[in-house]
Amino acid sequence: MLVISTVSYTLATLAEANEQVTQDISDFARGSYDILIRPPDARTDLESNLNIIEENYLGLGAGGISINQWNSIKENPNVEIAAPVASIGMFTARERTFMVWKEPQESLYYEVDYMTNDGVHTYKDLNRKYMYDFGDGLIYPSSAEVTYDYVGYDIASFSFPISYHQVVAIDPEQEGKLTNFDFTPLTEVVSDQMEYENGQYSIPIMSLENVTIPVTVQLLIDRLEAVSDNELEAWNSQFIEGNPFLTYEKDFEEYKRIIETNIAPKREMNEVIYELEPDETQSPFKQTLLVVDEQTNNLESNTDPYSVGGAFYYHSQRIGYRLEPVKYEITEDDTLAVRQTGSDDIYGAPTYRNFTEVIFYELLEEADIPVNNEDYLGFIENGTFSIEENAETLASAPLGIYGRELPHLAYNSNEKLYPSAVPGSFINTPAHGLISIENAEKAKGEAPIDAIRVKVSGITGYDKVAAERIRSLAEAWEAEGFTVDIVAGASLQDLEVDVEGIGIVIQSFTTLGAADTVLSSWNVLQMALTVLYALVALTFVIFTFFNMLVDRQKAEALLAKLGWSNKLIRSLRYKEWSTILGVPAIVVILGFLIYGLGYSVWLPFYISIVISFGCVILYVFLDLTKLNQFNYRIMNKPLKKVVLQNVWFYKFSILAAGVQSLLITILTCFLPFFLIENVTSTTQTRIGAYVHGEIEGIFILVIVLLYILSLVTVYQSIRRLMERRQAEIKLFEYLGWAKKAIRRYFLAEISLWAGICSVIGWGISLGLISLLINLTSTIILLGAVGLIFILMLTLGISAQALRKYSRE
């Protein structure tokens, strides 16, 4: 009854779990698109070695797919969406200034420090910038660049620190379908008086909303004492030809000396310091001039041209940067490390990848206009976008350019990391600016597209039919030479990355084939549990039947002596067995029938019928093969040790307990590590964690049932052994053996066979672990602890059984 009920229930539960896993995968594994098409050899080392890709991995790339190839894919009747991505490069927004008002005759000293940070470290601009403004155009700047930006008279203006942002080209129509976002601003005609030729040749760009512009400005303002004509004459006499600017160009050290010794003492040293940050409306490609709000310490955009001044540069986007992928070092234990490749000239901030400077068009010398107007590349911000990637989804296909999950320090999840203002961070940012794919060729040549995200038409879930259809399309494109990935079931996972100069960082990566991993892992676990359960149950049933048949032997021999015919004896035996097997089977089947009627769950009912039938066949097999008809034989050549002799003599009685000890050891020394390994690899992804959460209870239930069934067999076999040897125990007691001595005698015997079986079980476990997962010293040690535990448990059960029979 125990076997039929537990085995039926367990197998039904495993089948139910299997259905749950398949359903979860079908429901959640399909993302917003199905197939990712990339140029040949597009896979990074990380992808090839670990099958993971970084967040926003499509924000980089040298192209390789032409507009014509994209059009051909888009026109395929099986394609619902074909959304291209072309990485254009990293650009700064329009170079512009922030300003503070002043009286034209006012004498003031300004000092500006720029800072950028990556969430952990702050880097200060290595060059100090200052301006001594004595009013009416009499100025002494720290450099020519400061003068270029300085409007002067009533406006003190200084450049707003530049920061670099990833720009990606998309097709507004296809991307709109993929993301349900309106990208039509990218198709509009734009104009701006602060742009070259009023924006006639410029490209509309949409900025990402709510992005940290990782720069802050420290502005120091101090009053200057008025300068007399005599003082001015004395200063000028020290400059080369009485010309400060010429001195600056020819002998910068001398210029600095004159400033420090003559002009700097004019400061009243009663300064006011402003810590300025861009206000919340600042997006990466915002282009308006900025004004200092002295109340809020913010740098605010001012769109009214009649109340703001400053400087701006037409050719800010003439130079961009193309980043190479981060070179991750993969250590022996598959952890990742990133090394610093250099440092930035302006801030001294570390860089972690190589990048190349790209000049998009040439300028005419001494005119500051493009050689060819058609080559001009400049952006005019025309709206913003905000797309949440991977939010609330288990297996969203990574759109590749919108990921906003920031890495964080391993020891403090609140310390988020983001790229500083300089190009070369180890973090792939989402696209901070989007332009239309129409402009990609201008910036990147004939084959600008880095990837096409394809959604297959006419599919509603990720089932077998859908998977087949997706696979056949993918194979067709693969045959054309593209790198093709089926992304259904892709899911995020967090990994530790050792970043030089920062420490251990938790970073999000995406696996493209999470659904397959979850399914295959589940299949392996299901198989392991089923095999173990079947072995335990079979041992239990065979042992029980065997003992019952052996017990019948004596009774049947007596009946035969009394003159019963073999036919009559067999008839009586079958009648008895009909009751022994039939009653529990009927009770269990009826129980599952009621359960099925109540909860409409019929699988346990069907399985219980099959198991009952299987038990009958097993009995018939044992009965017909006469395996139970053996006799205990006195050994011809006794062994030297009594313990060994006893073990050999009772070998058939202890066989079942031995096998169960072996199985329990495997259960203890192999299954936990196997489960941990599988669960760890599965739960790395969000869909895996979800699916595991759904079936976790079933796992625990099955393992508990396994232990119960195994321990019951061990207890029954030992109890039976003790029952058989009850006369022996009594004899020892008559002979005056102390209870302790009797216990020691029997436990030594049990220790021997249980020890041998457990050690064999441990050995099998270690062998399986080294075959299926990685054998480590920790596993060996913990396995040994498990082995001792099982042995102690067996001895405990034996002592209990012994106590029972020594009392009777």
């Binding site: 200034t97 930006d149 701006f312």
Partner: protein, 133 residues
Amino acid sequence: MKKLLVGTLLVFGFLVGFKGLDLEAAEFEESRIDSNEVELMSAQTFLNPTRINGRTHTYYNVTVSVNVGGNAHFSFNPGISGAPTRSGPGSFSRNFSQSWTSNSITTYTYWGSVTTQDYGPAPRANGTAVISY
């Protein structure tokens, strides 16, 4: 008789009416080609000076001005590669201080522009700086 009178009146009526239409059309045409009036309606940018014969590393004051009053935004570009355009609000004019560098004799084309609140952007005005070492 009555018929003749009515007919004569109709003919003369048409003649007078058509003559009047011709006159109106001529007047309309005349108003479209009044270019002097158009000139007076738009703003003009002025630069002072429009030519600088100067020395390297020396500051010169350039004034960008406009011929109409009201709020205006003045811009000045020195024509130096890599140098930004500077701008600021004002009324009628704005001064910009600028220096140019040269190792020999170099000609720079600088320009100024104005956008006024009432008349919108005015055409640029160009100037030439010939800078010697």
